[in-house]
C-alpha cells in the first residue's frame, strides 16, 4: 500500500528526513511516533504527495511519485483521507457541509451525499451537530468532524497527523476508538502522535522517528 525505499528529503541543512525504508500493508493500523521535529508530518505529507522526496522511491496505492504527473496527484488524494491536528474546517459552513465537501469533489449525487454524510456523522457520533458551525463545537467535536470528513468518501488509507494533539485524554481516547473502528472496517490507518501514553496500551505497530531517521518500525 505504502512503500518508502531509501527516501530522503531536506528542508535545510539541519532538518529533513533521511534514508527511510518503510512499508505499510493493506488494512494495517500503525502509529508514527517521535518528538516534535522528528519528521512525522513530513512523512505523512509525502504519502499524499504534498512534498516529494529528493531521493529514493515512493509508491502509494499504486502511484509512483516519479511517474505521477503533478496534474494527476488529485487522483491519489481521492483515495486518501487526511486528518489534521488543526482540523482545517471551514468556519462559514455547517458540520454537514464540511463533511459533504469531499463527496462534491468526487461528483457524488445529492441523495448519496446525504446517505454517506449521515453514515459518517453516526460513526463520529455527531448526528446532533450536523447543523452547527465549527466554532460552536469543542476541540474534540471538531476533530470528530475532521475524521468524518476524512472517512465520508470511503478512502483506502487514512492519514492522521497528531489528531489528539490539542485534546484532553477523554476526547483523545474517543478519537482513537473511532479510528480503530474505521480500521476494523478495512481501512488502513497511519496515525502520527507524540503521545506515547495514549498508545502504550494498544497492540499496534509503532514506527519511531528521531531527527528525521527511522529508529524502529
Amino acid at each position: 500500500m505504502v512503500d518508502f525505499k531509501n527516501i530522503s528529503y531536506s528542508y535545510s541543512k539541519e532538518s529533513g528526513i533521511y534514508d527511510i525504508d518503510l512499508s505499510v500493508k493493506d488494512g494495517e493500523f500503525c502509529f508514527l511516533v517521535g518528538p516534535t521535529g522528528s519528521g512525522k508530518t513530513s512523512l505523512l505529507k509525502m504519502i499524499y504527495f504534498d512534498i516529494l522526496p529528493s531521493e529514493g522511491e515512493l509508491d502509494v496505492l499504486g502511484y509512483n511519485f516519479k511517474k505521477t504527473k503533478r496534474a494527476k496527484i488529485h487522483k491519489l488524494r481521492k483515495k486518501i483521507g487526511v486528518i489534521f491536528q488543526d482540523y482545517k474546517l471551514l468556519q462559514q459552513r455547517t458540520v454537514y457541509e464540511n463533511i459533504a465537501l469531499p463527496l462534491h469533489i468526487n461528483g457524488v449525487g445529492r441523495k448519496k451525499i446525504k446517505d454517506n454524510v449521515e453514515e459518517a456523522l453516526e460513526l463520529a457520533d455527531l448526528l446532533d451537530y450536523q447543523n452547527k458551525y465549527p466554532n460552536q463545537l469543542s476541540g474534540g467535536e471538531q476533530q470528530r468532524v475532521c475524521i468524518a470528513r476524512a472517512i465520508v468518501k470511503n478512502p483506502e488509507l487514512i492519514l492522521a497527523d497528531e489528531p489528539t494533539g490539542n485534546l484532553d485524554p477523554t476526547a483523545a481516547h474517543k478519537i482513537l476508538r473511532i479510528l480503530e473502528q474505521i480500521n476494523k472496517e478495512g481501512t488502513t490507518v497511519v496515525m502520527a502522535t507524540h503521545n506515547y501514553k495514549l498508545i502504550s496500551d494498544r497492540d499496534y505497530r509503532i514506527i519511531e522517528l528521531k531527527e528525521g531517521s527511522l529508529v524502529s518500525s
Partner: protein, 286 residues
C-alpha cells in the same frame, strides 16, 4: 455530474458575495473601463462615416487651354464619364465661370477687363465606392498628359491630410484602449488574487481531498465572469443611453453598432477569464 456542476456554480456565487467590497470595486472599475472603451468604440465606428463624408465631397477640377476645340473636350468628358472611379462630371464653361466669379467676388470680370479671361473647366466627382487615392493620382497624371489640359486643381491631398489625422487619432485611441484593457486585466487579476488568498483554507481542503486543478479553478472563473458581466452590462447601458441622449441634445446622428453589447460583454468576459486564469496559475503554482 449535474450536482457537482451546481455545487461549483454555487461556490462561484458565494465567492462573489463574500468579498462584497472587493467585488463592488472590481465591478465599478470594469464599468468605468468598459464605458470608456465602449465610447471609444462608438467614436471609432463613426470615424469611418466621417471619412466617407469627406470622400463623398471629393472632387477635382480640370482647367483646359483657351483654344480647345469643343468636340475634343466633349469627347474627353465622355471618356471620363466611362471611368469607373468617376461618379459624375460637370462642364463649367467660360460664362458659368464668370457668373461664379461674380458670386464669389462681387465683380463682373467681363465688364472689368472687357473680355472673359476665365478658362473652361470640367469638375470631376469621384466615386465613393472602392475609393483609392493611388487610382485618383494615376487618373490625374493621365489627364495631365493631354495637350489641351492647362492645370488641375487637386484638393485630394487635403483630404489625405485629414485622413492621416483621423488615422493618428485612431492610433491614439488604440493605445488608450490597450491601456484600459491592461488596467482591467490587472484589476480582475488582483481581485481574484485577493479572493484566493481569502479562501486559502478552502483551496487547501479541496486539494487535500483530491480536487483537480480545474475543479478548484471553476468557482474563481465563475466569480470573474460575474465581475465582467455586471461591469460590462452596466457600461453597455451607460454608453448606449449616453450617445442616444447626446444625439437628442445636439441633434446629431452618431450611430451605435447593433452588436455593441456583444463586443463589450464578450470582450469583458474574455479579459476576465484570461486575467483570472493567470492569477490562478500564480496562486496554484502551476
Amino acid at each position: 455530474m449535474i450536482d457537482q456542476f451546481a455545487f461549483l456554480i454555487a461556490e462561484g456565487f458565494k465567492s462573489f458575495y463574500r468579498n462584497k467590497l472587493a467585488s463592488f470595486l472590481c465591478v465599478i472599475t470594469i464599468f468605468i473601463n468598459f464605458s470608456i472603451l465602449g465610447s471609444l468604440f462608438v467614436v471609432g465606428y463613426n470615424t469611418g462615416s466621417l471619412v466617407d463624408f469627406f470622400r463623398s465631397k471629393y472632387s477635382f477640377e480640370v482647367f483646359l487651354e483657351e483654344d480647345v476645340d469643343k468636340d475634343i473636350y466633349l469627347e474627353f468628358v465622355e471618356q471620363l464619364s466611362e471611368n469607373r472611379i468617376i461618379s459624375s462630371t460637370e462642364i463649367i464653361d467660360k460664362e458659368k465661370s464668370a457668373s461664379i466669379f461674380k458670386e464669389e467676388f462681387g465683380e463682373d470680370v467681363v465688364e472689368m477687363l472687357g473680355y472673359n479671361p476665365l478658362p473652361l473647366s470640367i469638375k470631376v466627382f469621384i466615386n465613393e465606392e472602392n475609393f483609392d487615392f493611388n487610382q485618383v493620382d494615376l487618373l490625374i497624371e493621365s489627364i495631365n498628359s493631354y495637350d489641351f489640359v492647362d492645370e488641375i486643381e487637386y484638393r485630394g491631398k487635403y483630404i489625405d491630410d485629414v485622413e492621416d489625422r483621423i488615422n493618428l487619432a485612431i492610433f491614439l485611441f488604440l493605445v488608450f484602449v490597450i491601456a484600459i484593457i491592461f488596467l482591467s486585466y490587472q484589476i480582475i487579476s488582483n481581485t481574484i488574487n485577493l479572493s484566493m488568498t481569502n479562501r486559502k483554507d478552502f483551496i487547501d481542503i479541496l486539494k487535500y481531498n483530491g480536487a483537480s486543478g480545474l475543479f478548484i479553478k471553476i468557482p474563481f472563473y465563475i466569480e470573474s465572469i460575474l465581475y465582467s458581466l455586471f461591469g460590462s452590462i452596466f457600461s453597455f447601458l451607460f454608453v448606449k443611453y449616453f450617445f442616444i441622449s447626446f444625439n437628442n441634445y445636439f441633434g446629431l446622428n452618431i450611430k451605435i453598432d447593433d452588436y455593441l453589447w456583444l463586443w463589450i460583454i464578450g470582450f469583458s468576459i474574455f479579459i476576465g477569464l484570461y486575467s483570472s486564469n493567470q492569477s490562478m496559475k500564480r496562486n496554484l503554482n502551476e
